[in-house]
Symmetry: C2
Subunit: 402 residues, 2 copies
């Protein structure tokens, strides 16, 4: 039997991280490569109790098919969380609960993007977001992101050029807070600039915000969805980083007509997300002090970050820069020009048993400079290994890049 | 902000059942319209215990991101279940766990179907399957299904005609056992006929088999995947009807190259399905006697079916036919020629507070005769209401169709 696959399926490639996933299972390696949160931060006792209560007390909900848009209690709780973060347009009817925010990205790509459309992204950009658009055979244009700003001039120039070539560009995808992979956060001024550029260019903004609650100091500036006056922003969030990644509950909030299209597409995609997950989270949120839990999560990752970056910078040569994230799970490193993180990885694994993610897959262009970058997470290793692994990495970098 | 939606998103319509979903929430109505299993059949105590154990004993698995293809333990258990049903090609590596089998259909549609392709289906066909293909802007051709056979001559004629018009036809979608909506089951001879027609026409066969375990007498004939010698069949199954629909765990088994493409598309679609759901089911299957549980499920629905059809047929005029399912959740009714189930539904709701699903949405063509059909489920109402509702429906049919 010869199978002829669809055009869309030809656009997907295994991710850079998966390529050495089996190595990352080996506990003798210091893994700064993954993207997952630390399960120590998950309130497992309370979740176990909530799951049990969901099944025994709400059997006909938790074990049964549910509404495609999500469990009403969880949509309400989510609406309140977003409202408290300044999104005054937040309303349960404008929320869809998704199987993680990855599904939100995928559904939005299906609803908003035709094959051959150009999607505007940041440079660097989150690979999972890129994959959702690539699965639609989208093409990309990228505007440079730096420590606190997106280059809106580059954005405007590239959008206009693409349109002058007859391409449709209608969506800008961004992670404003503690970005994956860079750890960078858009300033308030940069957010206003971005929204005003989006209005001028007539772009919908997909704001992917999974890390917002994990700030090490002050909360980040207001979400784009809070600054938006026009219904131009679709906001995506998740409980994956703060309560559990295995309970696959993300959400999106957007204009009514977008949300209804997303709901219809989700109905064909999976009927509904796990009702056990949704019921468990709704009960958890009703019975526990989520705000207090978040304080602990922030403290955990702030300490991880401090241990990691302190140890790394003690050994690391001045020629290698690493970002100083104000939240989230990642720091972003840059080797001196001419070095390539992907080419060095095999040596790093062999000599120090340390892994990072080479940065090239976070870029949509072929700039040779992309090879300098690498992503590190300080989320997962325990403090002693975090420190030891950071020192090893630092010494390695001193050998190859000093 | 004016949103321009994708072409794909324009192909979807709210389902016929959703249109009166709010009525179905009203307990004063006798609902034979839904498609859900009865939560009384779910082993809630054991699942609650399994969920609790999953979170407390396997926190780093159940609460964390997991492999896109599914939890290894659940893939293994699923492989064994399929092997025991005669699918000797069954192997964990060829299985992907999905968010219900609906996601399996959606992923297969994304991997195998391009916009404008023609998908071969049964007439009638399951609406959820049709929706997954419609979301890809597929078109359809349909071959008539009857009580024990698919009309393979009609299939061959239509496939050849479509191809002669330059259309690509590469997939046949079928529910061989206790079909939704008809309750009909393909005989063993019909299965062989179907596979040989598929080979001759070079079609992949997507075998959707969520009801196989719910047989009222003898098990149904061997699955197509068990009869297949060529890797031509992709088999979809689910725990939704036997253990829980709210734990969204379906699975698909197919040729290696198809399964890898599905996995890649799923990675972009949602990274992974609920790890709590998967861990809970894996623990349930390891700790409990699933086979014994299934005996109880079969007995439950066999009794429901008997109560319902006995009461219905006592009142129903001879002019109205209803199928006699050997398993599953549905019977399929036909009004005399000239009557239209959709047009009668408002009267039925008003006069008897009874609901069915009008059959038209299960057909892909515009044959006026389609309007005669309606789908009934005997899964949900308790015995007294099942009987009372069936009598009401029968009396109504006697008034309008005698």
């Amino acid at each position: 039997v010869i199978v002829r696959f669809s055009k869309d399926s030809g656009a997907l490639r295994p991710s850079a991280i998966r390529r050495f996933a089996s190595l990352l299972q080996d506990p003798s390696y210091f893994s700064f490569a993954g993207g997952a949160p630390n399960p120590l931060t998950f309130p497992s006792e309370a979740l176990a109790e909530a799951a049990r209560e969901a099944i025994l007390t709400h059997r006909d909900v938790a074990l049964q098919y549910g509404p495609t848009a999500g469990l009403p209690e969880l949509r309400r709780a989510t609406a309140q969380i977003l409202y408290a973060r300044g999104v005054v347009s937040s309303h349960p009817d404008r929320i869809v609960i998704t199987t993680g925010s990855q599904q939100g990205l995928d559904l939005l790509a299906r609803v908003l993007v035709d094959p051959g459309d150009v999607v505007a992204v940041e440079s660097p950009a989150y690979v999972g977001g890129l994959a959702a658009f690539a699965a639609r055979r989208a093409q990309f244009l990228a505007a440079r992101r730096d420590a606190d700003r997106l280059d809106v001039e580059e954005l405007a120039r590239k959008v206009r050029r693409a349109r002058s070539e007859g391409r449709r560009v209608s969506v800008l995808y961004t992670i404003p807070n503690f970005q994956n992979p860079s750890g960078w956060t858009l300033s308030l001024a940069a957010r206003r600039e971005l929204l005003s550029a989006a209005a001028e260019l007539d772009l919908l903004v997909l704001e992917d915000d999974p890390y917002a609650e994990i700030h090490f100091g002050e909360p980040p500036p207001a979400p784009l969805a809070a600054l938006d006056q026009e219904g131009r922003v679709v906001h995506l969030g998740s409980f994956s980083k703060t309560l559990s990644a295995g309970l696959r509950c993300g959400f999106l909030l957007g204009a009514e007509e977008i949300v209804r299209k997303v709901e219809l597409t989700k109905q064909a995609a999976d009927l509904c997300s796990s009702m056990l997950d949704q019921s468990t989270l709704a009960i958890y949120l009703a019975r526990n002090d989520y705000a207090a839990h978040l304080v602990g999560v922030r403290k955990f990752y702030a300490e991880q970050k401090a241990i990691f970056l302190t140890a790394l910078r003690e050994e690391c040569p001045a020629t290698v820069e690493t970002s100083e994230p104000a939240g989230g799970l990642f720091t972003w490193g840059a080797l001196p020009a001419g070095l390539d993180a992907e080419m060095l990885l095999d040596r790093l694994l062999a000599e120090e048993k340390v892994a990072y993610v080479p940065g090239r897959s976070f870029f949509v262009d072929e700039n040779p400079d992309n090879g300098r970058w690498f992503r590190l997470t300080f989320a997962k290793e325990p403090p002693d290994r975090l420190e030891e692994g950071a020192r090893r990495l630092g010494r390695f970098l001193a050998r190859v890049a000093a």
